[in-house]
């Protein structure tokens, strides 16, 4: 048996340990947040003064003060639209098949599921090698907008499939049963009832996928996207550049002027991706509340 005073000292010590740890843990969280805050502020301080209409609408140049991100910005917009056009129907289609047409424990469904989980973990540069070997060389698409979009579409496919499946799964089965009871066919049930209800969830996944695709640099460099382009692509077969590639090009140069340009490009890139991510998280939280 321990005495009352001993017990008191033990409890007291525990209380202090607990307080100290709480402070240590809070400092840990703070370090993370401060570093991330420093990152954002650093880019903002360097980049914001450089931003302006002229920066957004000028082509790249050898003189840092005259260079802009026009071709990169337009290239990124085209690339993302094409990527979404290719990736979204395929991803949502795969999700519908897995959720509505197969038994969860069937062999094909399990194989696809494991496969999608693995694909989600493959480094993005490996997708670049796939794009280089398959689209650029074997299919002869060269370093075109289409080759870039196909590569990025495969890259974001797992994100779209996983989130669309979750959204479809969260539609109550009573909805389906009601539709079947009224004589609707399987596809009628899906297209008229399940998909509209799952729409916000699917949209969240698509936004996350798009925001990922906008920031991807490595796969585009691997397929050979050019870093200096002073014209706008007019066709899916044209060569292109994209915002992160332009930033990479400027960061890699020794002159301070280009570093400032890179920072300004980063501010634009961050604004777009963070807004998209925040929108996706907002949509998801709102939609979760609605059904549960």
């Amino acid at each position: 048996m321990i005495s009352k005073t001993q017990l008191k000292t033990i409890l007291n010590r525990q209380k202090w340990n607990d307080r100290i740890f709480r402070v240590v843990a809070a400092i840990g969280v703070l370090i993370a947040l401060i570093t991330l805050g420093a990152l954002l502020i650093d880019a903002l301080i360097d980049g914001v003064p450089r931003l302006g209409w002229k920066f957004l609408t000028s082509f790249p140049s050898r003189k840092p003060a005259e260079a802009g991100i026009f071709s990169a910005l337009v290239g990124s917009v085209y690339l993302i639209i094409l990527t979404a056009l290719i990736g979204v129907p395929i991803g949502v289609g795969a999700a519908i098949y897995l959720e509505e047409y197969t038994n969860q424990s069937s062999r094909i469904s399990r194989i696809i599921e494991v496969n999608v989980a693995n694909l989600a973990g493959v480094p993005s540069i490996i997708y670049g090698l796939l794009g280089l070997g398959l689209f650029v060389r074997a299919m002869g698409l060269d370093r075109s907008l289409l080759a870039g979009a196909l590569t990025l579409a495969l890259l974001v496919l797992p994100i779209i499939i996983i989130s669309a499946r979750e959204a479809i799964r969260s539609v109550p089965s009573t909805i389906r049963e009601a539709a079947y009871a009224l004589g609707a066919s399987r596809w009628q049930t899906i297209s008229d009832h399940v998909l509209p209800m799952a729409f916000p969830g699917i949209l969240t996944g698509v936004i996350l996928a798009v925001s990922r695709a906008i920031g991807e640099t490595a796969p585009l460099i691997t397929i050979g996207a050019l870093t200096y382009i002073a014209f706008l692509p007019t066709d899916v077969g044209d060569p292109f550049t994209a915002l992160p590639i332009q930033i990479f090009n400027w960061v890699s140069r020794p002159q301070k002027g280009f570093h400032i340009n890179a920072a300004a490009g980063i501010v634009v890139l961050l604004a777009v991706t963070l807004l998209l991510n925040a929108l996706a998280i907002f949509l998801r939280n709102r939609y979760q509340k609605q059904y549960s």
Binding site: N17, G28, P89, P123, S124, I125, G215, A278
Partner: protein
């Protein structure tokens, strides 16, 4: 509805089902595509370079006159930056996860979690800029002998980058630990600290380990951060203060030049990519299995 219409709608249903199946199979084709592209060029590579040299030679100089193809210097560069990143991300990630799951009041948790999630979406090129132009100059003031390109700076920044991954996966695992285990420990007079370290962390152990494994895999595959800030000098060293080259950086370095198809130089990036793919693949499978384990036990 007459029979003709019925028959037509049945055919349409069939076509729709088939096309949806095709969408699902496309994801499998992607995997097959990755493996075959890598295999095709890697096999061609090993027809000219012996596997033994590739795995044991200590010099990587595929672009010089005296060509050498030892992958070890690239591997050491990758391992070094990933190790530094894990030194940052593991302690900070666990602290953040414990703080969020056991200490933070509900309101703070609701604010912090989305912030961490949003920051996980920052493009890696931004972290590269930060490492080269903010962290490296800072380190140069502290350690004058450090080179302009080094493994330390991108390693540290990479640690911050993968921290949200570690903390959110670990927190999920801790969250899945049943309330009753905590209540039992509290009833026995444990402090919050004791509950966290002696009950919650051990109970969530496989989930926490899974978060480390998945984070390592992410660090190994990270490209832009190291391409910008770690240098392009294949260097068999574990000195974090000098320039190195990772496997991913090498692929970028060759891709930036105009490499003709079919040359040995073109094939090296696929051979290096194969090593990278296999490494991350094994880690991902291992991590997923660890994660499944904690789910099975508590759900």
């Amino acid at each position: 509805m007459n029979t003709k219409q019925k028959k037509r709608s049945r055919i349409i249903e069939r076509i729709i089902e088939r096309s949806l199946l095709a969408c699902g199979l496309l994801s499998i084709l992607t995997t097959i595509g990755i493996i075959s592209v890598l295999l095709f060029e890697t096999i061609a590579f090993f027809e000219e370079v012996s596997v033994f040299d590739f795995l044991t030679d200590t010099v990587w100089a595929p672009l010089s006159v005296n060509k050498r193809f030892g992958v070890l210097p690239l591997l050491s560069g990758t391992v070094l930056t990933s190790l530094i990143a894990m030194f940052m991300a593991v302690p900070l990630g666990i602290l953040t996860a414990i703080f969020l799951s056991e200490y933070a009041p509900d309101g703070l948790r609701r604010v912090l979690k989305p912030i961490l999630e949003i920051l996980a979406g920052v493009p890696t090129i931004v972290y590269g800029y930060f490492a080269l132009l903010f962290v490296t100059p800072l380190l140069q003031r502290l350690i004058p002998s450090i080179e302009g390109f080094n493994a330390l700076s991108p390693g540290i920044v990479m640690g911050i980058m993968i921290l949200p991954l570690v903390s959110s996966l670990s927190e999920d695992a801790m969250f899945a630990v049943p309330r009753s285990l905590r209540d039992a420990a509290y009833a026995l007079g444990s402090s919050r600290l004791q509950v966290a370290w002696r009950v919650v962390v051990p109970a969530a152990f496989s989930g926490i380990t899974a978060s480390f494994v998945i984070a390592v895999s992410r660090a190994i595959g990270e490209t832009m951060l190291v391409s910008i800030a770690a240098g392009q000098k294949a260097n068999l060293t574990f000195n974090p203060l000098v320039a190195i080259e990772t496997m991913t950086t090498y692929i970028v370095q060759v891709s930036l030049g105009d490499t003709p198809t079919g040359t040995l130089e073109y094939r090296t990036i696929f051979a290096v990519g194969m090593v990278l793919f296999l490494l991350t693949f094994v880690l991902n499978i291992f991590g997923d299995q660890m994660r499944q384990r904690f789910r099975e036990r508590y759900e």
